[in-house]
Amino acid sequence: MSETTADAHGAHDHHEGGFWSTYVFSLDHKMIARQFLWLGLIMMVVGGMLALIFRWQLAWPETQVWGFEWISDESEGMPEGYVTPNFYNMAVTMHATIMVFLVVMPILVGCFGNFLIPLMIGARDMAFPVLNMLSFWVAVLGAVIMTAGFFVEGGHAAAGWTGYAPLSTVPEYSGVFMGQTLWALSLFVLSFSSLMGSINYITTLINMRTEGMTWFRVPLVVWSLFVTAILGLLALPILGSAGAMMIFDRVFETNFFNPAKGGEPLLWQHLFWYFGHPEVYILILPGMGIASELLPVYCRKPIFGYRAMVYAMLAIAFLSWIVWGHHMFQSGMNPALGSAFMMTTLVIAIPSAIKTFNWLGTLWGGSIRFTVPMLHALAFVILFVIGGLSGIFMASNVVDIYIHDTYFIVAHFHYVIFGGSVFALFGGIQHWFPKMFGRSMDEALGKVHFWLTFIFFNMVFFPMHILGVGGHMRRIYNPLQYEFLQGMQPINVMITLSALALGLSQIPFVFNFFATVFRWNAKWFRVLTQAVSGLVVGFIGYKSAAVMFEGLMEPEASTGGRIVGTIVFVALTVWIYRYLEKNMAPLGADAPQNPWDANTLEWVAPTPAPHGNFGPTLPVVRRGPYEYSVPGESADWAPQTEAIDPKYAEAGH
């Protein structure tokens, strides 16, 4: 039914609309994509703040968190800025929950899925625009419920993002009352939002590809979003039913998970991980797709092994259903079953390796353009490999007995989720920004942001491998309570300092984003941007130099530390200021239609793409998405709509 209505949209652009229908209850997939982007970025700030607070507690346990001393001492969470044990548990839980469900999923799946699928397959919009709008507003509802949990009596959920029962189901155990229920309710609501998204993505891709867009001419990022949608539609209902049972246990006093009344706590673990492992692939597959999309564009080369990429994604999606036991090796599982889960988990390394080698094959011999999106794509490949390799260690159940629930696990999943998904997310934002907002984000600022993030990401998460192997448990309130961990406390301090730097490193991105969206290019604003970015780098440099000079625990104890720090501070500030002064393009200037010389259909559409995307007629696809540098063709790129030279058309058959 909607096919025809959607078609009618494009022909005549009559949707002038008021503020509400354009920006709030929009039915246009591109506006919905931007709404998801905003939702994710805002929640990212919340999730990041929580992480910095509990990192502070880990580095300098039971001291006042800097900047929070003003809180009244009657506050339940952080009296006078001290992190209480309950608050610590809550912060860890909510950091992970928010990052997974309200940052990575809304941006990678919600934003990029909505934006790219119709544009890249040559459709005018999603199959069901109203459903699409609902999917966003239901996600907002989920976010509101999730946020409300912070303000209820007893605090927010504090049983870990995995919500293990009975800690999560018996309020007396954790002291959390409404919070945990709201947590489960919010996840339930968010799974509805995802389901609506999946319905749209799958239907649109199957039924609404433009003429000539055969399955194997579909860009890899769209393939990845398709596979993600299938995983999401099958996995999230499992979370929904587990969450429903949790809510029943808490509200109607049923006994699913409470062993004291005949329940079975392991049931929660099985259901959660049966959802959870496909979920982690929901988080990474779009990232893989984005990397596969960016590498050919910036290498000016076809992707290596297009079909292998598609089949590897399908294989990963299938395998992700039979590995969940690797999260439960320590749950008293039969060792034979454990070995079976070990084998299936190790098999996932094969399609992952196929993808990795294909990315390397794409890079090989390419004429690489080191743009900001490309840097992020490269970082994706590097960091995903590190995270994937640590995954293989943990998959071996013998090794996992030792490292389970330690910081090694924390290092692993941050390498795949932050190093993988979030770097792809930043790369994707920069790459598609011109099409989304009609203007290009600045490359120079982007480079400052990239390098800071890349360096401090590694400084935060790499040492966690060492902590983990040293036996540092995850989710502990105060590591100093354990004698055998005290020797490693300097590593914790260094991680926290780097985490603070990682937080500051996002400032250039914020400037870049707002300046471009709102076209702030006044002289004073440019100077402010240069100065703030310079000061951020300088300040981080000051701290690092002082730390290196003086040892980790008391960075600024001596004049020596201060002098060295100051020299580094001035040098770095001036350097970044000058670098930006020289290289920053006019902020928020209009972007050309196809700034990167990319082949895929979204770049055939006008910039920014209008309602209906393609003007009066839909594009007709005549070639694959990655035909860069075809020998014998004059340009090193060719839009998918370009006809093949007739002299080849004969030879092809």
Binding site: M1, E3, F128, L131, I199, I202, T210, E211, G212, M213, W215, F216, R217, P219, L234, L236, P237, I238, S241, A244, M245, F248, F252, E253, T254, N255, F256, G262, L267, L271, I303, Y306, R307, A308, W364, G365, G366, S367, T371, S440, E443, A585, A589, P592, R622, R623, G624, Y626, E627, S629, P631, G632, S634, A635, D636, D645, Y648, A649, A651, G652
Partner: protein, 233 residues
């Protein structure tokens, strides 16, 4: 202007030193054998033809798949407890009303049959039969719900509650979730019925009825499985 954003010279790129030797020129989008460049259109069906399934049917299939996963979570929980080795049903618990529910099952299955008849009527363009058959279907759904509700009240009076033990928790959660689905299906059906009375559907425009019918069949189809598991197993 930022250097990267300028269009590059449109000429053949230089190969890097040390790069592998150039492959022989290959027709763009041809069957290179390995699918490089993402091109291979020879044996692929063209998407521009009529799709196998319309948007509505496809979307409903996706929804149904999700619903089945949702119920398999609950069923999984049921099986875990049912086969945990403890006596089942637990001693001193009221027995579930198998006979009445069997009759109820038959009523529900009948409603699926009337729904199929309604769909056929729509296909034939029988404008009168459609609302009538939809009404019958809906009434059967309501009767099913009423009998279920009556039995619930009796069970609660006999002392089987959701919080008493796992047996009760499972019974009320699974059967309740299904009942809620029947309720939503009935509400949906009423909406479709109103539109059918207004003559909104025809053989060429059946989507609203088709979607509702697919959902109805899902809800009915789930029931015998749940009946077998919860009441008989």
């Amino acid at each position: 202007m930022n250097p990267v954003l300028e269009a590059p010279p449109k000429e053949k790129r230089e190969r890097w030193e040390g790069a592998p030797p150039s492959p022989p020129p290959e027709p763009p989008d041809g069957n290179g054998g390995n699918g490089n460049g993402g091109g291979d259109d020879s044996r692929d069906s063209s998407p521009s033809g009529k799709p196998l399934l319309g948007n509505t049917q496809l979307a409903m299939l996706v929804l149904i798949a999700a619903e089945i996963m949702f119920f398999s979570g609950l069923i999984g929980a049921f099986l875990v407890f049912r086969f945990s080795g403890k006596p089942w049903p637990p001693p001193f618990q009221p027995r579930l009303p198998v006979e009445v529910t069997a009759v109820n099952t038959a009523l529900l299955l009948l409603s699926s049959y009337t729904m199929v008849r309604a769909q056929l009527a729509l296909k034939k363009g029988d404008a009168k039969a459609l609302p009538r058959l939809l009404t019958v279907t809906g009434v059967l759904g309501v009767v099913f719900l009423a009998i279920q509700g009556y039995e619930w009240v009796r069970l609660v009076n006999f002392g089987l509650t959701a919080s008493a033990n796992v047996y009760g928790s499972l019974f009320y959660s699974i059967i309740g979730t299904h009942g809620f689905h029947v309720l939503s299906a009935v509400v949906w059906l009423v909406a479709v019925l109103v539109r059918a009375h207004l003559g909104k559907y025809s053989a060429r425009n059946p989507n609203g009825v088709v979607a509702c019918a697919m959902y109805w069949h899902l809800v009915v189809g789930l029931w015998p499985i749940l009946f077998y598991l919860v009441y008989l197993l």
